[in-house]
Structures are given as C-alpha cells and as structure tokens.
Symmetry: C2
Subunit: 360 residues, 2 copies
C-alpha cells in the first residue's frame, strides 16, 4: 500500500459521468489531507476537456484509460463476465493490487458489488456485503443497514451488521461506542420473528464495542434515536425506498403549494433564505456515500444521480475510512463474534436461495 | 341484523374519549344515509354532558353504559381475560349479537384485535386479521396491508391479503378491479425471497377480481402506482412507521423554517392560504379508519389521536363497508382461493411462532 492517501475513482459511473465525478474530485481536494492522490479510470478523451477546466487536479490525478463503461442497467452477472477492462473493474482492481486504499464509484450498484466481491473477496464467512444508507435525522445522521443486498438474514447476519455498522459509524463520526438498535415492530422483547429476537439476545449478551439499545421501530429512524439501525436487506430496502418516495411526495406538495397563486409565490420569495436553508438540509448530497461493508477493502457507492458536492462527500467517506483503523477493527470485532457462544448455530444465510437488489 | 344501518361505537377509546368520538358521530350523521343509528358504549356520566351539547344526536343514538374502559397500554391477553363489560368489549359484542353491522373504536389496537378474534372469529383458515393503512399518495389513496398483525407470512397469506385488500378497496373506492402490487426489493421476477416469489406466481395465475400488477418497490407507495399494496406485517409495519417518522421530520423542519426569522414568518403569513390547503392535504384525518380484514364482521380501527373529523371518517369507512357487498364477496373470493391449485401447500403461518404488534 502507498503511504500517501490514494483513492481509485470510477470516473465514468453515475448519471453524469466525468463532468460530475471530476468536479467532485476537485472539490474533495480542498478538504482532504495534503498529498492525497487520485487514480481516474475511464475514457481519456472524455476526461481531458473536463480536466482542462480543472487545472488544480493535474498535479494530484493520474488518468488511467479504460476501454469500456458498465451501463447503469447491466445485470451484475453480465458485468462480472464481461466487465474486465471497464472503468469500474479497473478502479476496483487498483484496490486489490494495493495501488489505492479506497475506491469510489457512482455506477451500477449491483455490478459494483459483484465485481468487488469477485476481486476483493468477503471477510470472514459472510456471503455478500451489507449496504449502508446514511439517513438524515432530527439529531444528525443514522447509519441504516442492510438496505438491499442480503434479503434473508438470520440472527448471525444481523449481529454482524451491528458490529460492522458500529465500526463504520465510529470511523466516520468519531463516536467511541455508537448506539445500535435492531429494527422491529415493537420494543418489547417478545415482539417480532425468531431471527430478530435471537439477534437481540446475542447482542444483549455480547461485549462488542457498541452500545446496544435494543429494539427500535420505523419512526425511530428519522428521530435519530440511535446511531446505527440494523435490519435485514428486504425490510431495509423497503424502508429506504418508502422514505425516498415520501420525500418526493413532500417536495412535490411543497412546490405545488408555493406556486399555487401570486400570493404563495410572493410568500416563497420573502421566505426564500429560510427555504434555501431547508432544501440544503434536506439535500441528500450532504450525506452521499454509502460503503459496502464486509469486503476486504473500502468500496464506496455514490448515488448515481449525485452532483459534484455529493460525489465529493462520497470521497470524504472513502478518505475517512482509509485514514481510520476501520478495516483492522472490523476484522477483530468479527473474529470475536465468530468465537462467541451461539454464533453460527443456525444455517448460514448463504445457503438459502434469495435474491436482493444484486444478483448472486 | 337490523334493516337500518346501525354502527356500534366504542365511545371511550382513543386519546380524547367521548369529546372526540361523539363529536365524530355528530359529524358523521351529516353524510350518512338517513335513518342510520349508533350504539354508544361507555361511561354514561361522561357521555351525558357531551350529548347535551350535541342535541341532534339524541334521536339517532342509544347510550349503552359500560362498566370499564380498556387502557391504551393494556396487554391484549389481559384485555381478553378481563375486558368483559368494557366499552370496547360491549361494542364488539353488539356486532356478534347482530345488533349492529359494524363497530368503530379508537382504542387499544391489540386489545381490539384480540377481542374481535375472540368474539367474531376469523373467516376461512386465517389466523389473525390483516391491518390496512390508508396511505395518501400523489394520485389518491393506496391501501397497504398487512401493517403489523401477521409478522411471518407465507405465499398463501400474501395471496389472501391481495384478495382482501382488493375487496376492501373496491367497497370503499368503487373500483371494479383494483390494481394490486406485491412489495419487493425490485420488480424483476427473480427478486426477493421465496414467499414473495411464490405469491407472485400464484397471483399471476389466479382469476380473482383484481388487476395484478406484479412487484412494486417502496417508492411506489407514495407514487400511487397501484390501488393496493400487499406485504408481510413486519415489512408493512416498518414501512408505515418509517413514513410516520419522516412525516414528523418534514413537519418539524417546515415549522423551523417558517419561524426562523421575521422574513420567514412574513412569507408564511402571505402564503398562509396555500399552506393551510397543504396541511389539510397532509392531514391523516381525511383518510382515518383502517379495517381489520379477515374477521366475520366489520371492525374499523380509528387512530387513537384522531380528532372528530378523523373519527367521522372512520365511521364513513364502517358505513360504506356495511352498505357494500364486502363481507359476502370476500368470503366468495377466499373460498375460491382455498380451492385454487397450490393453495395451502405450505405450512400455515399460524403454526410459526411469531409476535406482531398484537400478542397471540
């Protein structure tokens, strides 16, 4: 591994390609440690005009030409078989080859996960990484996982998510013992299904570096009751998308309200500074950048539609994980878990047929 | 059964008791069919002063004194054992005794479900009723079920929810063939876990009076993609509470925005008519009143915190279900389902240990 921070960037991924990703890198250089460098994978001909407009990047970036781009709608299995030589593949390959400490991509989520699993492998006995959503709350940001990769989760897997989520939150938010809640339909110990109750028992008995809060409910997410919320990928994915849908519902309703007539438009004009602050607060860009947890390496997924500010934030997440003791600590915690009594008593989730947002 | 519409009302349930429930009944008399009558169960001494202020009610209501009230935090098992003689128990008992065609309560959800199952029994081979949420969308209202009673659901149960949800939506919204979606983490047929995929196959092959749309995702709820969304009680409960939490997050953010400074307050004042229309649109009272589906009878749960307008709407739902062919149609559809090839091939969900928001 290089001594200096090196981040491998899939410059072609996302809805906007190099225009946004390179502008994001340029923004990130302003807050990253001096000496940080970037490997930019993609179509050199498309990157050059953008780089010409961003002269500050020349000294900290290296263009690594890639011969193809994985489409946003490609099937993960196809991406694995045919993705070699693409900007995404090469970006992850640099991490495997220890040329970089982290990779950031705004490309196809399923393809990024499949290629990362193939090239980096999972840590421990995990089957596939957990996807983390950074969720804005009344009190800050809560990390919610898994939001779509692991559809059927037994108690073991949920305990692993708790450990990984806490390690991630600690690395990013510098909380020594993040509080962790297990998502359920009620807070009493008898609520929920077998797996969630068994995970609750194990977490109560465990001695991981986390502050286990017990069960939380859906409305605790936006309240910010805890730092980390753990759930299976089916429930987490539905909760996340339900929230995204509702956010659009509110935004649409708000827009309709303030354009309904002349008085409403005048009101919006007068209150514009506060409205702007509100929209900044609700802007997902400020919290963009979710890691794939459980891989032997730091892979950060940026939202496909992120703007330069959002992409820069994904790079910030990558840099903070790379600078922290995250990967080692996670390995330690997970090995402790594997040795804990009762762990892996049930069949591994890997053996159950299930398909998440990412094909096997 | 009486010829005229008679609705049995638990007048003591909810956060506000008779003040709200009786005012709700008074509002409902304005839109119900002429001749509709109400049986008001509860503490006569508390109801009398309220009734004195609502003279129009005297001719259409009958006070049925009840000796106790089930507390909002009572355990369902306790309510079943000790609830006899309470306003809720008596309200449901009137339905069993065919003195009324529907019951409405804003009381303890778990207790209402437990007492209803005990006194009315389930239809078919179902174990417990499905709870329906009326979800406001960009296109109207979508019925989402189950939102908390059935934690572990096999394919059979999900198909039953589709049938019941469609029958409910048809009765309330007069849609001949409501469109039904199955909640999943993606729309391709290979997505999700075994039960959701098996339910999808059966619904595709079925000939129920519904328009099966296939899989939908979390953001389809607020979009209003379909009339009815089917999911297990665990996922549905988390989605509903996640949305409730997010709604409070938005309301709080909006309030902070418009009280931040003098200009913001002025802007809100000028746009107040549109803001009022918006808050009416977002008011859950307009869609209050979720049925327990699968019981031999019409039981409507009003939100505990509903105001008179909300409670009146729950009465409207009860009246519309009572007036429609709902119960017979549901019975027909469910028997057709039980005879369908492949139905009940898996173990009934009843045999699996699980606890929803309602104790067994």
């Amino acid at each position: 591994m290089p001594d200096r921070l090196v981040i491998s960037v899939d410059a072609m991924g996302g809805d906007h390609g190099p225009d946004v990703t390179l502008s994001g890198v340029a923004r990130a250089t302003k807050f990253l440690v001096p000496g940080a460098r970037f490997l930019l994978h993609g179509d050199a001909a498309r990157m050059e005009p953008v780089l010409a407009r961003l002269p500050a990047l020349a000294s900290v970036c290296e263009v690594r030409p890639a011969e193809s781009v994985i489409p946003m709608d490609a099937k993960p299995a196809h991406a694995m078989r045919r993705g070699k030589g693409s900007s995404m593949w090469n970006a992850v390959e640099c991490l495997r080859a220890e040329e970089a400490q982290a990779v950031v991509s705004a490309g196809n989520t399923g393809a990024l996960m499949a290629i990362s699993r193939l090239l980096l492998r999972m840590t421990g006995d995990m089957d596939r990484p957990a996807l983390v959503a950074n969720w804005p709350t009344l009190r800050g940001v809560t990390s919610v996982l898994d939001v779509g990769a692991n559809i059927v989760c037994d108690a073991d897997r949920l305990v692993e998510f708790a450990i990984m989520g806490a390690a991630f939150h600690r690395a990013i938010h510098k909380t020594a013992r993040p509080s962790v809640g297990l998502l359920n339909v009620g807070t009493e110990t008898e609520k929920g299904h077998d797996d969630v109750r068994e995970a609750d028992r194990r977490l109560r008995a465990s001695e991981f570096a986390l502050d286990y809060h017990g069960f939380v409910e859906g409305d605790d997410i936006a309240k910010g009751t805890v730092d980390v919320i753990v759930t299976d990928g089916f429930t987490g994915n539905v909760a996340l998308k339900t929230a995204e849908g509702l956010a659009r519902f509110f935004t649409t309703t708000l827009r309709t309200t303030f354009t309904a007539d002349a008085m409403s438009k005048l009101g919006a004009l007068i209150a514009r500074r506060s409205l702007k602050r509100m929209s900044e607060r609700l802007d997902p860009g400020s919290i963009n950048g979710g890691p794939f947890l459980g891989l032997n390496g730091i892979v950060i997924k940026s939202h496909g539609g992120a703007d330069a500010r959002g992409f820069a934030n994904a790079i910030r997440v990558a840099a903070e994980l790379a600078a922290s003791d995250f990967v080692r600590q996670l390995d330690d915690d997970l090995s402790k878990h594997l040795k804990a009594p009762g762990a892996s008593a049930t069949a591994p989730a890997a053996s159950r047929p299930s398909e998440g947002i990412v094909a096997a």
